[in-house]
Amino acid sequence: MACRLCEVGCKVEHSEHKHVIKSFKREKPVARLLVEESGPLSFATQCRHCDEPACMFGCITGAITKDPETGIVNLNAEKCIGCWTCILMCPYGSITRTNGARPTAAKCDMCPGREVPACVEACPNRALVLMEDEEPAVALEDAA
Amino acid sequence: MRNIEALNNPFGDAKVISNCSIFGMMDRTGRRFSGRDISRAIANMHDRGNGLGGGLAVYGIYPEFADHYALHIMFTSAQGRKATEAILAANFQISRDEDLPTQPTAEIVNPPLVLRYFVKPTHSRLEGLSEDDFVVRKVMEINTSVEDSFVFSSGKNMGVFKGVGFPEQIAHYFCLEDYEGYLWTAHGRFPTNSQAWWGGAHPFSLLDWTVVHNGEISSYGINRRYLEMFGYHCTMHTDTEVITYAVDLLMRKQGLPVEIFADIVSAKLWTDIDRMDPESRQLRSALRQVYGSMLLNGPFSVIIAHEGEMIGLTDRVRLRPMVAAAAGPMLFLSSEEAAIRLVSPEVDRIWVPQGGEPVVGRLECTSEAPKSDQPLAA
C-alpha cells in the first residue's frame, strides 16, 4: 500500500544507532529495498539472492559472496571500493549506495541476527512475508 | 361497548394497522342479486387477507322494513344484551328483533351473539335532533358506554355483516347467499395483530354509510384530532373509522358532493393547482386551506357506499390498487382484475381510475360514464 514503512524499518536496522529517531536525525540511513509505485500498484523490490548472482560475478574486489548454506548474497562493505559495477549488473535494481564520506554499495542482507527481516516486521499489511523458498514447495508436493 | 378499546386494540397501539382486499359490485338499475358472486370474488383475493377479518355490506336487503333503521348488534354477554335492549326500548319502537341467521362452521370460532332490530326512533325522545342524528347518538352511546355490546350496522334497508375469518367464511356464516341486494361491498382483512375482534372487521359503518378500505393513513393522528373537534369518538383506533367519520362529516353533515370530498381527502398537488384556471385554483386552494387536516395522506383505496351510491376512491398518488369495470348495468370495483373477471368474464369496459379521482355508481344512472377513466378496449 506504499506506506514505505519497510524502507523505514530497513534504514533503522542498517543504521548505526538502530533507533528510529536517532538514526534518521543523526545519520542519513539508506534503505536496502525500494518501493516501486505506479498508480494503485506498488511493491517493494529488494535483492532476490539469485542462484547465480550477476552482482557477484561483476564485483571486481570479491566483496560480494553467496553463502552456500543459507543462499544469502552478502556484500562486505569493507572490501567494497564503490566502483558501482554491481549496481549496473543487478537486473532488479536492488543495490543502492550508502551516504557518507566513503560511500559503498549496500544491499539486502536478510537482517542477520533477526528472526524476520526488519522490512517484513515493519510491514503493517502483510505485503512482505518471509517465506523459505524451497520448503513450501516440498510441503506443497507432500500435500498433493 | 365500553371496553371497545381493549377489544380492538389490546396492546394500546397508537393505531391499529391492517391492510386488505376490497370488492364492490352494484346493479345500477336497482336489480337485487344474491351475495354468491361477491363471496366468490373476494375469495379469489384470499391471499390479500389473512383470515383475521372479513365482512360485507349490502344495500336493499330489507325492503319490507325499508323505513326502519336496521340495527345489527353483537353481544358478548347476556348483561350487555340486557343493558342495550333497555336503551333500545327506551328510545325506539322496535318492530321486530331476531337472531341473525347463521350457519356455524369449524372455521368460525367464538362468534358473538348477533341480533338485528328493526327500529324507529321514539319521537318524544328526539329532542330536536333529526332521526339520523338521534340514531348516531344512540349508536355511539351503546358503543362507548355499554359493556359487551357493539352496534355494527345502523342504516335503513341495508346491512353490514362482519367478523373474524376470511370474508367468504363470514359470508357463508351469515348465509349471505340467501340475501339479495343491489349493491354489495366486501373486505378481506390483513391486520398486523391477531387479537382480532369481530367489531374491528370492515365494513365500518354509520347509518347507511359504509367504508371498506385497503391501506394505511399516515396522517391518521391529525385526521382523528380534527374529527374529534366535531364530536366524533375514534374508539377503534383504525384509519378506516376515521374515513367513515370523514364521510359522515363532509358528505352527510356538510353536504359536500363526492367530487369535492375526493378533492379534500385526496387533495390535488400544489403544482397541479398552480396550473389551474383561476376559478378552479381558488376552489382547490380553499379546500386545502380549510380542510388540510382531512387530507388522507398515505396509501389507501376505499369503497364508500350508501343508499343508491357506490364510490371508489384512491389516494392522490394511487399507492393502493383499484380496478373498475362496467358490464351492462353492473359496476365493479376491485383490488384485482381477476376477481372481477371471475364473476363477470365479459365486461364492456375495464379501467384503472386515476389516483384521487372518484368512480361513482348511482342508481338509475346507467348511462353515466365515470368521468375519471381512461377508456380502454375491453
Binding site: I21, A127 | K15, S194
Partner: protein, 501 residues
C-alpha cells in the same frame, strides 16, 4: 463553493518535530491530503482543516510523532447552539445541501444495555465452567412449527428451512460498493471460518464470493441491484430490506463515483451512474404487498430458504413485526437507531427511530402475546459494542444479533464518519484501489474471527455464570436481567424487573 469558508477546523494535527523523521509515511497514508513535505525547509506540514480525525497517520507513524485531537479552537460556547449545530448550519449555508454522515447515531441518547445487569448463580444452583464443560451457542434461524409429528420413533414432519449458526453473532448488511471488495471478502471468509453468516447488503454478490454461498445472506432491497435468480439461490437466507436503523424511511444513493469497475459489474448497472435505492420498495406499499414479495422470493427459491425481513426500529414496531410474521417472514431483523450506515442524512440518522432495546423487547413480547413467536426468528442489530450487549439482547428475546460497526472496527474503522465520501484511509468504505488495497482480507479475516471468537467466549463465560449451558435457555429469559436507573415505564416496556427485586 462560496467565496469564504467560515468553518473552523474540527481536528488539530500536532506534530512533534523532535520525533518526526520526514519519512512521509503520514503523507502517503492520508487520503485527505492533510500532510505534505516541504523540501525547501525539509519539514512535514499539516493542513489541519482537511483532517477528519481518522487517526490512520497517528497509528502508522513509526515514531509516534503525531497527535490528532479535537481542535481547541471553538466557536463561543453556547448551551443551545453546540459546536456541531453551528458547524452543520455553516456547511449548509455554504452548499444548500443535506448534511450527510456515516456510521450510526452519535448523539448522547441513553444506551439501555448499560442500564441492564445480568444475573449469576450463587449457592442455590451452580455456575458452569465453560472451559471444561459443554457450552452450546449453536442457533437455528427460521420458522419453527408449533409441534412436530413423530411416528415409530421417526420424524414425520418436514421443518421449514433452518439455517445453522455456531454462534448467534452475524455480520449485518454491508454492501459491496459501500465497502470495498476486500472488506466484504473478509466478512465472507470470517463468516465461513466462524460458521456464521454475513450479509451482502444491497450491492449484489461478486462472482468471487459465490464460493461462500453457505454463509451468505443476500439482500433484496428497493434498488434490486444484482438481484437475479442465481443471486437468490446462492444464499442461505434471502433478506428483504425494508428499512435500516440509521435512516428509517429513506432510501440511499450510492454515488456514481463509487460505482466503478467490479462494483458496476456486481450491481449490474453501468459505471458512473448513481445507484439509487428508493425509499420504499415499489412493489410494497402495504402489508399484503410484503406478503406478496415474501412469497415471490419463496417461489423463486422453491421454498428452500428462509426469508428474512429487515426493518428499522420505529414507534409501532411491535404491530409491524406481527404483521410481518403473518405475512410469511421466517426471520424478523430489527435495526435500532444506533445502527451504522455508509451514508445517511445526518438529521435523520440522529433523530428518527428508537433504540433497539425497546424495539426488541416490544416485538418479542408482542409475538408471544400473539402466540406466534415460534413462527419467526428475531435478529437484532444496531450498535452492539460488546458481548454483554449481545447476551442482553438474547435475554430480551433475540435469536441472534447483527453486528456491523463492530465488524468494521475489527477491520480498522475508527468511526470518523466519512464513509459517504468514498475516501477511507482504512480501505474499508472506498473503491479507490490505492486506498482499498491497504485492507488485507487475510488480516481483516483474522481480526474478525478474533473479535467474534472473543465475544463468543465471553458469552459462554456469562452463560456459565447464569448456570445454563445452552444459549436457548437464555433466549427471551428476561428473569436473568435487572434494570438499574430506569423508570417504571422503561422497565415495563423492557419487561425486566428492577435491581434488587
Amino acid at each position: 463553493m462560496a467565496l469564504a469558508c467560515f468553518k473552523l477546523p474540527e481536528f488539530l494535527v500536532e506534530r512533534d518535530y523532535d520525533k518526526c523523521i520526514n519519512c512521509r509515511v503520514c503523507e502517503r497514508q492520508c487520503g485527505w491530503e492533510v500532510h505534505s513535505y516541504d523540501e525547501e525547509v525539509d519539514k512535514m506540514f499539516a493542513d489541519t482543516e482537511k483532517c477528519v480525525g481518522c487517526q490512520r497517520c497517528a497509528v502508522m507513524c513509526p515514531t509516534g510523532a503525531l497527535v490528532i485531537s479535537p481542535h481547541p479552537g471553538r466557536y463561543r460556547e453556547h448551551g443551545n447552539w453546540t459546536q456541531e449545530h453551528l458547524r452543520d448550519a455553516i456547511r449548509q449555508s455554504e452548499t444548500g445541501g443535506v448534511v450527510l454522515a456515516g456510521s450510526g447515531n452519535d448523539k448522547d441518547y441513553p444506551v439501555y444495555w448499560d442500564k441492564l445487569l445480568l444475573n449469576a448463580s450463587q449457592v442455590t444452583n451452580p455456575s458452569i465452567d465453560p472451559l471444561r464443560e459443554p457450552m452450546e451457542l449453536r442457533t437455528y434461524l427460521g420458522a419453527k412449527p408449533e409441534s412436530i409429528e413423530v411416528r415409530d420413533g421417526k420424524l414425520v414432519s418436514q421443518l421449514p428451512p433452518q439455517v445453522q449458526v455456531e454462534t448467534p453473532i452475524l455480520f449485518s448488511a454491508l454492501s459491496y460498493g459501500a465497502i470495498s471488495f476486500q472488506a466484504q471478502e473478509a466478512l465472507a471468509r470470517a463468516a465461513a471460518e466462524l460458521g456464521i453468516l454475513y450479509n451482502t447488503g444491497e450491492g449484489g454478490l461478486h462472482h468471487d464470493l459465490y464460493r461462500y454461498r453457505g454463509n451468505t445472506i443476500v439482500q433484496v432491497a428497493s434498488g434490486r441491484f444484482g438481484v437475479d435468480p442465481d443471486y437468490l439461490n446462492a444464499a442461505r437466507i434471502v433478506e428483504i430490506k425494508i428499512g435500516q436503523g440509521a435512516k428509517p424511511g429513506i432510501g440511499g444513493h450510492l454515488p456514481g463515483e463509487k460505482v466503478v469497475g467490479e462494483v458496476s459489474v456486481t450491481r449490474m448497472i453501468p459505471a458512473g451512474t448513481d445507484a439509487i435505492s428508493p425509499a420504499p420498495q415499489h412493489d410494497i406499499y402495504s402489508i399484503e404487498d410484503l406478503s406478496m414479495l415474501i412469497y415471490a422470493l419463496k417461489e423463486a427459491t422453491n421454498y428452500q430458504k428462509p426469508v428474512s425481513v429487515k426493518i428499522a426500529a420505529v414507534h409501532n414496531v411491535a404491530a409491524i413485526a406481527t404483521g410481518m410474521v403473518r405475512a410469511g417472514a421466517d426471520i424478523i431483523a430489527l435495526d435500532g437507531f444506533r445502527g451504522g450506515t455508509g451514508a445517511a442524512p445526518k438529521i435523520i440518522r440522529d433523530n428518527v427511530g428508537i433504540p433497539i432495546e425497546f424495539a426488541l423487547a416490544a416485538v418479542d413480547t408482542r409475538l408471544r402475546q400473539e402466540g406466534i413467536r415460534n413462527r419467526a426468528s428475531i435478529i437484532a442489530g444496531g450498535g452492539f459494542r460488546n458481548s454483554a450487549d449481545v447476551i442482553k439482547a438474547i435475554a430480551l428475546g433475540a435469536d441472534a444479533v447483527y453486528i456491523g460497526t463492530a465488524a468494521l472496527v475489527a477491520m480498522g474503522c475508527t468511526l470518523c464518519q466519512k464513509c459517504y465520501t468514498g475516501i477511507c484511509n482504512w480501505g474499508i468504505t472506498t473503491q479507490n484501489p490505492y486506498l482499498a488495497k491497504r485492507l488485507n482480507p487475510e488480516i481483516a479475516t483474522e481480526r474478525l474471527v478474533n473479535l467474534v471468537t472473543g465475544w463468543s467466549h465471553e458469552i459462554k463465560e456469562m452463560l456459565g455464570g447464569l448456570g445454563v449451558n445452552s444459549i436457548e435457555s437464555l433466549r427471551g429469559n428476561r428473569l436473568h436481567l435487572r434494570g438499574i436507573g430506569l423508570t417504571h415505564g422503561e422497565l415495563e416496556t423492557l419487561g425486566v424487573r428492577m435491581v434488587g427485586q
